[in-house]
């Protein structure tokens, strides 16, 4: 894998997320072929690549939504390949969906409360009695952060598309992620909304590592310090934005040379 050189990191600290020989086949199709990927704490990393490159499948295996055909996923040096998705979310690996995936019939408040109460709950039965005031304070803090405080009582399905995307981000934030995986967060947003979301991602990155799948190159170049390029199930390049723009392999994939 050309250009897959690891980022410098403090000696002794393992990468926050690492995959070794990770692969996934759907029927006869090799969506991800033996990928070695590593992400350090504090990064904003973008994964780019043409449609069908295996980006969503790769992050799906990191978040646990998709079970791998082979290989290993490590989180903070610990093997989590067999840890179910819900436990990974509780460990801090949080995924926001490519297609907005909110609870349309519930209110904005309840959507975020579902995420926030997961942080407060220690088990199924602790959800029977919980300090509602503490919960409400946390929810309101997150809603204020993303700018949805005024919509807290509205039904989520009635929000405009841009606000639904923000609600999706708010739910992820309420889970207090260690690593936040965002799958095409700017899809379908207006230029103003994109600028707002980029600024929001930047503030989130102060407390969380961010892994971003994104097609909008302006957003990618503005936010990320390192970029991983995938094509046909493998990583073909990795480096700073300048290195990526100069990479002949990347130019071939993108310009069809």
């Amino acid at each position: 894998m050309s250009g897959a050189n690891p980022t410098p990191r403090p000696a002794g600290e393992p990468p926050l997320v690492q995959t070794v020989g990770l692969k996934k086949t759907f029927g006869g199709l090799e969506a991800v072929r033996s990928v070695d990927f590593s992400l350090d704490r504090g990064e904003i990393r973008a994964i780019i690549g043409p449609n069908g490159a295996g980006k969503t499948t790769l992050v799906g295996m990191i978040s646990g939504r998709i079970g791998p055909t082979g290989g290993v996923v490590l989180f903070g040096g610990r093997d989590i390949t067999r840890v179910p998705a819900h436990d990974r979310a509780a460990m801090g690996i949080v995924y926001t969906f490519q297609i907005t995936s909110i609870y349309r019939n519930l209110t904005v408040f309840e959507n975020v409360a579902l995420a926030a109460q997961r942080r407060l709950a220690r088990g199924v039965l602790s959800g029977l009695s919980m300090n509602q005031a503490i919960l409400a304070r946390r929810v309101d803090a997150v809603l204020t952060h993303v700018g949805l405080r005024d919509s807290r009582g509205l039904t989520a399905g009635s929000l405009p598309h841009g606000h639904q995307r923000l609600l999706e981000v708010a739910m992820a934030l309420a889970l207090e992620p260690a690593v936040l995986i965002m799958d095409e967060p700017t899809q379908g947003l207006s230029p103003e909304e994109i600028a707002g979301l980029a600024a929001l991602i930047r503030t989130i990155s102060r407390s969380a590592t961010i892994l971003l799948i994104e097609h909008n190159m302006r957003v990618v170049l503005e936010l990320s310090r390192r970029i991983t390029v995938m094509d046909r199930g493998t990583i073909i390049a990795e480096g700073t934005p300048q290195e990526i723009e100069a990479d002949p392999d990347v130019q071939r994939v993108y310009l069809g040379g």
């Binding site: 819900h86 997961r118 919960l135």
Partner: protein, 320 residues
Amino acid sequence: MRRGGGRRVPAVHLGILLLLLALQFVLPPFHHGMVARIMVLAAYATGYNLLLGYTGLMSLGHAMFFATGMYATGLAVYYLNVGAVGALLIGLVASVAQSTVIGLVTLRTSGVAFLITTMMFAQAFYLSILHFNRFTGGDQGFILTGRLEPLSLGSLTLAVSAPAVKYNIAFATLAVCLLVNLWLVRSPAGRVLIAVRDNQERTRMLGYNTFKYKLLALIVSGTLSGAAGSVYALLFSYVGATFASVLYSIYPILWTLLGGAGTTLGPLVGVSLMTYIVDITSGFTSSYMLVVGLALVLIIMKAPAGVVGGIRERWLKWLP
């Protein structure tokens, strides 16, 4: 769909319970007994609705839970001469155990497969009752009349078969089931159940072990249903295999859909409507189930969310 509602929600529920409590003083004897029966069956439907309406799981085997409570209680009275309270406790323990085991197995499936596996277990349970007819009386069942010691509250002795006692025990059963259901669905855990119903995959990615939540819902649902079965056996002094048959698995679906799935008061409304529709029409025709069917078609066309669901959609958005 919780939209706050504040104090109005407990007020409405307590108001309806008070109304039912007061009804016993004005109802003529026939309707007095009928409402007592409705309240026990509404407790059963309330348990069912927790699973169908709030967790999104359609079981076609709930007669098994109703009958588990009924038979555990009935057999304890019949063979062991246990008193009403002890028999009720035995029914509860059996219901918890039964729904835990059944839940652990059937919740590995979902959708139609869940419907089929719950139905298969219920059929196996029903056939077991027939098979062990030496103990269970087979499809004729057995009668508890005369075997139950009167309840004694201090100096007061109350015969369980006395109409007033019957009515108030039925009322207490419904009240407990209704309030447990209300409390659960308005708790943070209940919010997770609703989330599982609306989008299970998303809920998993929020860090919830959805299997455990579905198991919780099934155990509470099965236990409320079983409690209703226990009380039914005690109040009406009869235990029979009909109550374990598929018909009694279908009834709670109809009651819940008619009254409004996913509404706390829907099951009570559904049971009341259907019981009275059957009662009134069976006076005119023997094909009264046809009328029930027509009523159901009408409801689905005019108010697909059921009676209480329709009321919530149109007027009272805060109803839980």
